[in-house]
Symmetry: C2
Subunit: 472 residues, 2 copies
């Protein structure tokens, strides 16, 4: 199949593809620029099918680099720019990238990264070489994003072009689509599936993405009031700030405010309804190429607390331990489910049963098929839209030899939704300051517990596993 | 993947799926009834993967039978109900169907059909058996329709569920989609891809199909004026009758009047624009699971005469005999292209080059990528080394207002190889001499028909296309 950007440059050449810092780029212009970058990338010894690290941000250069990497048939491994060098190096080594490209603003951290690293300006300095745009297949890997899951060690999730395509069509079948008027505001990171999915939908639908460098409540409000934006993806903290700054409704053209991430407080949802804000709760993860369950806006008021129904044509199954349980493990099947974990045949095999992806999350469905998520996998903490896996943080804490036992749990937080806190059993020689120094060298700042609670012992199951739930 | 009707019965249970003779059926009701039929079909010895003949019409029973056949995993071979028994028997034998189900109104012809044949009432008389709904895969065959193509012998076109899905999404990406309001009026036969594709889109989109037993201009007009219908598929003759009966525009909710089949006269298109009728020209065939090229309504006025641009994400290539040719063979590639011809490995192989389906049709694309179809396959007349396209001659003939219908075909000629001749339906005031004067002013001498044959009517296909082949 032809590369979708090339396709759009043919059939939607004059339509706007990107709006960045108030400058518009048509699909034709985007293709031309991405193609120029692709020619420059071709100067590096990258072959079709190679994995390349991409340490970018929500800016023009990163946007073009993603398209350029696809044009030469390579596969971007998206590095979360909030991670430490040590966290990034784990992913760089695990994915065996041939090299890493970074936005010039990450020059400092890049010095600590493994393997060959090139700044975007190094790419831009090259004379473009001729290259043949590489075709894509639905089963080809389009992107890799790392996620920890329950085991603690991050694994690279292989998202195919098919995953992105079917996620896009599922969303269009649910929300409808108006190719002449729709436009999606991207204030979430494009190294996360929430952001990348917007970029992919832009080329699949032939609609503009309004790309914002970061979530700026004033800038986002202005756009939501302006009438050009029909869709926005947000996490809870963003929504709260938008509601604080704006007292009334947004422009009537705004059709979908897609809310991902953590379960959201009922009061917040209700205050959206009062202001006619078309909030859509959803459920999804890196392995499902974004939302796979979403609430129809028309039913949102009746089903507060639900994440919605499984999108077309995917399937949801609740695997209960016993018949009488209310909640069971959420299993998912369909064309948006990831291909597997990179270089992890065993973990991939374990993640599936009967063709279903076992999410590790718990929940139930009501008689109308609406999903209620009770618990995210492995006690996942979602803080300002970022996933924090307790196991990973606990492993880092245990590097301090004065800590004997550790349990990390989420605590409700007015600003971030949740923040991590740690419960510890320690030696007399323990010093909190020293632990924090260790953690800072190992973990991204958002993962570092906001408080440490010293205990005599931690609650455990009969088999000796810490009962994190009992600590909440 | 789960059967799409079951899926819709889950996620869109209360939405209207079918409106037939002013009675509405929700997706849940459609599933229940289709499921009942499926249980009755299970009483016949049909296995998943079996081909079964289906001689139906645009009615309630045929609609449910199609869904029922899919539920048990069998594959309907659609018999065109205008064929003779001998033509149907060719298809029945060629496809090796295990049996044929027919609407009771075809009892007479059914006596002359080969193999086991059962009336729908035979099915309805059975006590339903328990059955397990069969899952579907994008690569599974969903439907078989026979088409002659260039070779003369009809071949069974294998259309997969994937073909139907991607055709549906391509159409939605082009025209947009409003799942809450869209509704498609089906006045074309459901044994043709133009009709079946509407039924498939109904379950893919979760929107109603308004099924009409036949094209009745009064009934269709009433619906197009009523506001419930957003889409209709028509052929040229239907459009002309609709325009004759209605002087003004239709309801503003009507978004798409999808025009398939033959190339259409400019005057007809222009008269649609004058009345704000959202006419969309398209190009497609049985092998492409309906439209694969369509004109955006926004560009329709600028590109009169074009069938539009290739739909996302398919590809179009013009294969020219020599560089200097204007027209070349239209080649198509993408996920809506059929899987092959049933039991015809050789013909299937010959139909493809470099992964492209060779349509046999001729055309060219302009610098904006718009396709202009010069000639549908098999009708090209070659006379003394010059190419003559019947459509062009017919358009010229129709400039004479005393001519109502025209079909130009090639006739063997000792001197020139072939010469064009015309078959006409005319008004009593027609004068051949006057027509020839008009033609001489419009066409090169070699293109002017060597004889004119006055007929009471021209042979047409069920979808209203003139069968030039039958006139040869």
């Amino acid at each position: 199949m032809i590369n979708w950007l090339i396709k759009r440059a043919q059939v939607s050449s004059q339509k706007t593809a990107l709006v960045y810092r108030n400058k518009s780029y048509s699909f034709k212009e985007v293709y031309q620029t991405a193609s120029h970058y692709a020619g420059q990338l071709a100067s590096f010894s990258i072959k079709s099918g190679d994995y390349v690290g991409l340490l970018g941000k929500n800016n023009r250069e990163t946007y073009f680099m993603i398209h350029a990497i696809h044009l030469i048939g390579a596969i971007p491994v998206f590095l979360n720019n909030r991670l430490t060098a040590s966290e990034m190096n784990f992913q760089i080594k695990d994915s065996k990238v041939v090299c890493t490209f970074f936005d010039d603003s990450f020059e400092t951290i890049s010095r600590d990264l493994s393997g060959d690293c090139y700044a975007f300006s190094d790419v831009e300095a090259k004379t473009p070489k001729a290259f043949l745009p590489v075709e894509m297949d639905f089963s080809d890997v389009a992107s890799v994003m790392y996620t920890s899951g329950t085991t603690g060690y991050p694994k690279g999730v292989l998202q195919t072009f098919g995953n992105h395509f079917f996620s896009g069509t599922a969303s269009a079948l649910n929300f409808g689509l108006n190719p002449a008027k729709d436009a999606w505001l991207c204030v979430v990171p494009i190294f996360h599936i929430s952001g990348l999915s917007i970029l992919m939908r832009s080329v699949i639908y032939g609609i503009p993405v309004f790309l914002e460098e970061k979530f700026d409540v004033a800038s986002a409000s202005e756009k939501l009031l302006g009438g050009e934006i029909t869709h926005i993806s947000v996490v809870e903290t963003m929504l709260k700030r938008l509601l604080e700054v704006n007292q009334g409704p947004f422009h009537e053209n705004l059709r979908v405010v897609l809310l991902g991430g953590s379960a959201v407080r009922k009061e917040l949802i209700e205050s959206c309804f009062k202001r006619d804000i078309p909030i859509v709760q959803s459920y999804g993860m890196t392995e499902t190429a974004s939302q796979i369950v979403a609430l129809d806006t028309s039913l949102a008021k009746e089903k507060i607390g639900s994440s919605g129904r499984i999108l077309f044509p995917s399937e949801l199954h609740i695997e209960k331990a016993t018949e009488t349980d209310l909640d069971g493990e959420i299993w998912l099947r369909g064309p948006t489910i990831f291909k597997g974990y990179l270089n992890q045949a065993e973990a991939t095999k374990n993640a599936f049963s009967n063709g279903y992806f076992r999410t590790g999350d718990l929940g139930h469905i009501d008689s109308d098929g609406f999903l209620y998520v009770a618990e995210r996998r492995g006690d996942l903490i979602i803080s300002g839209g970022e996933n924090i896996y307790p196991t990973e943080v606990e492993h880092a804490i245990l590097l301090d030899e004065n800590v004997l036992e550790a349990a990390v749990v989420g605590k409700k937080d007015a600003k971030w939704g949740e923040v991590p806190i740690a419960h510890l059993v320690v030696r007399p020689t323990f010093e909190e300051e020293r632990l924090v120094t260790i953690l800072k060298s190992k973990l991204a700042p958002f993962k570092i517990p906001k408080s440490f609670h010293i205990k005599n012992e931690l609650p455990k199951t009969a088999s000796g596993k810490v009962k994190r739930h009992a600590l909440k």
